[in-house]
Amino acid sequence: MLGWEFPPFMAGGLGIHCLELTRGLSRMGVDIDFYMPHMKSIEGDLKVSQHHDHLRILEVEAEPGTSPYGNGSAHYEENFNAAVALYNRRLVDAFDSHDADVLHCHDWITVPAALELKRRTGLPLVHSVHSTEFDRSAGFAPQHWIEDIERQGIHGADLVIAVSRYTKALVEKFYRADPQRVRPVHNGVDLEKFHAVADRDYSKHRGRVLFLSRMSRQKGPLYFLEAARRVLEKRPHTRFVMAGKGEMLPECIAFAVRHGFADRIEFTGFVPDSMLADIYGHADIYVLPSVSEPFGISVLEAMGSGLPTIVSRSSGVGEAVRHVLKTEYWDTEEMADMILRLLDSRALREELGRNGAQEAARFTWDACCQRTLAVYRDAVAMAPPPLVRSRPAATARLPISPPMEARP
């Protein structure tokens, strides 16, 4: 398995996904070599943990870790792209197929190496798409060279795992993927730390509406604020909480100031993992107004915390749950109406909250792992026997030029 991050080194959901996936698959008897870049931690001598048997973590020397999933304003900068390119080159060199049956790579950042390794070893390749450039850019000035890599990965893999039917439809539409080869597999979620706040008293509420997400165009923070403005016209005492950081934070603050409700809104900044349950626990309504959300685990976490939840229709999780309210991300009137009715009605909060918590608990990593394993089996069954079983020569270049060099 070719990855990018793994606990404790991670910035986004990919690290969690890889941990849960390798753990679950191990329990089902799958042996996994997991490749990731060697990370130097600024906090000292953090070591990536092995976590469980049947898993070997192989750290490939690369540039100090930078994340593709938003370390504030640093993401998508050129040193990051260079780090990705270097990691992919070194990964190909370091790779040893041993007796592997299948290759599995995650997102575009591991695609170049995965395609080269498939070429050299003949191993069947499963490619997980956790998000696409369309999602991350919200359709606004996507980076075409990344789209090219995503397209190559989707067409080069034997089978593609999409995190949702929503994402499956996206890659079929934008990358003309063969629908037969794209399998939707929903994420799981570990809700244990949210159980304490799930048992809430719905008769009391503080009128707090929560946005908890990276503040990027993809997550639709301005739609949340537009809905907030409409809600405040009817209910001036409502409080809004925007948790997370991101490049749109200044724009969000400016919006609240311009419309005169900066005093009704609280910007918390980045929320560490340890604070998540608290944040959900102190909110009364959760809103995820994403413009394009491949899955949206935070929705399941909010539901698992007993929060009535409003989710954008352009999301993967929206297709999979029934005990939420769904709206178009741009329909801020509808969003405001839902918030108002939730604030007014204990019955609605309680019914959505309780049923939602039960529903979220059904998204287990076990189910996700089982479906992933089924994809592995299919990939192995449909692929010709591997050509090479031994360590490949370490000379070839990657098929894709690093973007740095491609630019003038």
């Binding site: 029934r322 005990h323 309210l325 009137e333 109406d337 009715r341 009605s345 204990r346 019955a347 609605l348």
Partner: protein
């Protein structure tokens, strides 16, 4: 001699248009006229017109030996009157055969019967009686409460209004091991009301199981069904079902209309069977025992209680809000406001907010115009709250 007693329920609610509190509607015209018209047209083409024609012909051909009863909700008749007078005419043609009984119910197909104060319930029954008299020139003596909801109080209300008989579900919850094929009376000693109970097995054989693949009686043919009826031991077998069974729930391809057309002939082969109207069954048979029903029953779901409409806190909230709105809205004396309030009481609005068995492809969602019960509740409540605001405005102006 065993009576075969058919009653068909005919009802369509005024479905709501999308109402948002951030942009309140100007008036109290809350209804999605286009959707209501489209559903009315579809059901008319698939069920009401062909089924009415078939029944009318069967009644005429048998010279009234084959006879059936209808309970037609007032809100349905109102929609026919404004949008489909041709369909209304076809129901009136049935009435003119002289062998079709029209039952009384609440005009608004509401749950007002469950409120402590029976005044509103009585007002809605009275309005429906007038509607039936106006359209069909009949004075109903048999009462059918919304969704066969029944308890001791509702029975007392019906008797106080002069009805001779009332219909409800023949559930074991009230019968124990007694037969649904007999006539009963309420437990109050002075009561003379006849209670007719639905034989739910034989009714549901047609309404729900008719086209079910793999069912032991499939395919259900008229001769087979007549045989099942002939084996019933009792005074009457009451077959109560939604009229939309014919052509809409059971598509014409299932052979439901052929089944219907052949039924009188097959029943006639059993000399001890004969068709009868609810009022005739009530008049010709004495009650064999009493029924004590302190908690309301209905014909809905496997629970046969009122949990389809009042099973979760959202439904309780909307129900309580509607009731609380009663006194102020009647005080305004504004006919439009009062009519809107009563149309919002139609049980369907609460049914759509049911969260029982969600996810099992359940019947509630099948009938719902909403994406989810939560949106159903939000929309219904938005309408109620808007009406409340307009009522207060009028009272304090």
């Amino acid at each position: 001699m065993t009576s075969v007693c058919f009653y068909f329920q005919v009802h369509q609610p005024y479905r709501l248009k999308r109402i948002q509190s951030v942009r309140p509607p100007a008036g109290v015209d809350y209804w999605d006229h286009a959707k209501n018209r489209a559903i009315l047209d579809r059901a008319s083409a698939k069920c009401y017109l062909p089924a009415n024609a078939a029944i009318a012909e069967m009644v005429r051909k048998s010279d009234g030996w084959f006879r059936v009863a209808y309970s037609v909700s007032g809100v349905f008749l109102d929609q026919l009157e404004s949008d489909r007078p041709d369909v209304l005419q076809s129901f009136q043609d049935l009435a003119k055969t002289g062998h079709v009984e029209f039952l009384a119910e609440t005009h608004y197909h509401s749950l007002a019967g469950l409120w402590d104060d029976p005044t509103e319930h009585k007002a809605q029954i009275d309005e429906h009686r007038k509607t039936i008299r106006r359209h069909f020139d009949q004075a109903p003596t048999t009462f059918r409460n919304t969704e066969l909801i029944y308890d001791d109080r509702i029975a007392a209300t019906a008797e106080a209004l002069g009805f001779k008989a009332i219909l409800t579900e023949g559930t074991e919850r009230i019968l124990g091991n007694r037969s649904p094929n007999r006539i009963y009376k309420p437990a109050r000693p002075e009561s003379k009301l006849k209670v007719l109970l639905k034989n739910y097995r034989l009714s549901d054989d047609v309404a729900f199981r008719f086209s079910t693949p793999g069912w032991s009686e499939a395919p259900l043919t008229a001769d087979k069904y007549a045989n099942l009826l002939s084996q019933v031991d009792g005074d009457t077998v009451n077959l109560f079902m939604d009229y939309e069974t014919f052509g809409e729930h059971q598509w014409p391809e299932t052979g439901i209309f052929e089944f219907l057309r052949h039924l009188p002939g097959e029943v006639r082969k059993h000399p001890h069977l004969g068709f009868a109207l609810p009022k005739e069954v009530a008049a010709e048979n004495e009650a064999v025992d009493t029924l004590r029903v302190p908690q309301a029953i209905s014909w809905a779901d496997s629970e046969r209680d009122v949990s389809a409409w009042l099973g979760n806190p959202m439904q309780h909230t909307a129900f309580a809000e509607l009731r609380a709105l009663g006194a102020p809205i009647l005080e305004t004396g504004d006919k439009d406001l009062i009519q809107a309030w009563r149309r919002l009481q139609t049980s369907d609005h609460l049914y759509y907010a049911c969260t029982k068995h969600m996810g099992d492809g359940d019947i509630h969602q099948y009938f719902s115009p909403y994406e989810s019960p939560y949106i159903a509740f939000i929309n219904h409540m938005n309408a109620i709250q808007d009406l409340k605001a307009k009522t207060e405005l009028l009272l304090h102006a």
